[in-house]
Amino acid sequence: MGSGNWSTDVYAARASYRASTGASAFAYSDGGATAVHPDLDPRGVTVRESRDSADHPESLAIGVLFDVTGSMGTVPRTLQAKLPDLLGLLLRKGYVEHPHILFGAVGDATCDRAPLQVGQFEADNRMDDDLGKILLEGGGGGQMRESYELAMYFMARHTAIDCFDKRGKRGYLFMIGDELAYPKAKRREIARFVGGEPDEDVPIAELVRELQRRYDVYFIIPEGAYHSGNREVKDFWQELLGQNVLYLDDLDAVCETIALTIGLAEDAIDLGEGLGHLAEAGSDAGASVSRALARLDAARAPVAVSSTPPGLDAAGPSATTRL
């Protein structure tokens, strides 16, 4: 997987075709489907692969998995509409030369019809097709938890990415949602929805550790979503992922946020440059992206090395009191 080239023109043409025919981007879901589309069904999948190829000699794997249950409101549809910006930004601005993007969706394994849907890593418009096949649940269990742990289990143990395997370069995994995960990936659910069966349940912290070896893992909480103001949700993810939890107050800025996060991590830009690129591209998402990424930027800002200037090492401690 992961050959072909992305064209935003093709995308635009398709979007306008849809608009003229009145078809939704989520044609599969809106067509009344009630089960996972076979192309996105993780059951029995050995691995989803992101492989180097002649077209893409230095592939970089990027996974984007989002919550499709009711609590997320219109987020999944917003995401779909903004996708060309993600790849477009990554490519045009040279943040990443050969991105391979995989889309997936997360529901609730205790009650949903499609708790986990995972497409392929793609480098072109075929990822759009994957997106169109995603089943929007609109349900959710009402217990403020979704099965992110199952998604993490899949990403940790059922993906093969050349960027890491060949070059030791980590891929990126973004999860977007507004709820907690269950504390463990349960072996029964793994058996039922993914296939294979580990000897015992896998605690989520264990999955995070496994994942973080191969992926930079981020969790984006859109502020417009149902539970997003909830302290417990923030604490839960912050404890697992630290500063890689991003709070986004404008859903329209989700792709820009992902693009700039990658740009920062790839050391391709600093936040100021990235925001400049957004403005150039006519995006008005800058303020939201800036707020979401400010802390990340401070930690990621490039390092200038020199000796400490004179005076500073002999200076007394700060004459302030922390409150």
């Binding site: 400010a294 802390r295 800002a301 490039p302 400490t308 004179p310 500073l312 009191t321 922390r322 409150l323």
Partner: protein, 342 residues
């Protein structure tokens, strides 16, 4: 520290004819030697009699490092640090001139652990730039960039903010020292007006300053300009995710009794917090010269309970203008000069 160690250090300083004599050729070793000597002969440690030796050590160290030591290169600029730093409570300020470009100040925290406060300032200045009314941007410093600095020898990391330098500005503290009997209320009036405008601008953009103190209010006498500096203690609304407390994060020790009770009380700050401190700054500046009406106005800005104070700086400015008109009639430009010698 034993006396002989100090004597030995002083003797070595005395003997040294050049930086290399003292620090040697190896860079890491030189840093260690410098640090050891600085510790020994620092005026605080030497009981006052080592000041001269310390000055000599500092100048030798500066000479030793001429070359790349005062040059800090980031992705965007190369900063050659010029002259001695200006000491702040939290940071040292280094003047520099990037090539090409206008003069800037590098703010480096004394304590590397204060990086979050520098980060906070960068967040606030960016938010002001983005969400604030552009007409009032001259009221706050321009952030050139924010970066991390690592000491090549020791690995110490510091968060650094670079802000545009202010030419011809004096802090309210300096103005106060220049007018020990108090500043004329008609001069203080424009400063107060500008200060309220600066706060009104910041508050509308969702940022509280959190430390409106005489050292942080810079005025330009001839142009009647005002810039509110040092946003390290600010409470930017967009920080609510990371720090939902809405509290001022730290207090400047020297001014501990200048703060309204909600700050040391670790309660959430509000626009009324800044307004309280602004009133305190201005009345202190005028000393005994404050007219009665202005004193009452200030008192009305400073009740201990935040919800009994005015919270809208723009509305307060309108009230203040009415007061000034009653006191002095229609507004007229009044030149203000700092005395040539302080």
């Amino acid at each position: 520290m034993s006396g002989s160690e100090l004597e030995d250090a002083l003797a070595r300083l005395d003997r040294a004819r050049g930086p290399a004599d003292l620090f040697g050729g190896d860079e890491a070793e030189a840093v260690r030697r410098y640090r050891r000597l600085a510790r020994l002969v620092h005026p605080d440690a030497g009981g006052g009699r080592t000041e001269e030796a310390f000055a000599r050590l500092t100048s030798l160290w500066r000479a030793y490092n001429r070359g790349d030591e005062t040059l800090i290169t980031t992705r965007r600029h190369a900063y050659r640090l010029e002259g001695d730093p200006i000491g702040g409570d939290l940071v040292l300020l280094y003047a520099a001139r990037p090539e090409p470009g206008r003069g800037v100040l590098l703010k480096m925290p004394r304590d590397p652990a204060d990086g979050d406060l520098l980060e906070r300032e960068a967040v606030a200045l960016r938010q002001l730039q983005k969400d604030g009314d552009a007409r009032f941007l001259p009221y706050v410093p321009r952030l050139v960039e924010s970066f991390r600095h690592r000491d090549g020898a020791t690995g110490t990391r510091r968060q650094v903010n670079v802000v545009a330098a202010l030419d011809g500005f004096h802090s309210l503290a300096a103005v106060g020292r220049a007018f020990p009997d108090g500043v004329d209320p008609r001069d203080a009036a424009w400063m107060w007006r500008r200060l309220l405008a600066g706060l009104g601008f910041a508050h509308r953009a969702g940022v509280l300053h959190g430390a409106v103190l005489p050292d942080h209010v810079m005025i330009h006498p001839e142009e009647h300009g005002l810039v509110l500096v040092d946003w390290c203690y600010s409470v930017p609304g967009c920080f609510a995710h990371a720090d939902p407390s809405g509290r001022v994060p730290a207090m400047v020790d020297r001014y501990a009794d200048w703060y309204p009770p909600e700050v040391p009380g670790r309660q959430a700050a509000s626009p009324a917090t800044d307004i309280f401190m602004a009133a305190r700054c201005m009345t202190e500046l005028m000393g005994d010269k404050v007219p009665k009406a202005m004193r009452s106005f200030a008192r009305g800005c400073m009740p201990p309970a935040p919800n009994r104070r005015p919270a809208d700086a723009w509305r307060l400015l309108a009230e203040f203008d009415e007061l000034l008109e009653r006191l002095y009639g229609p507004r007229r430009f009044r030149p203000f000069h700092m005395p040539a010698t302080r």
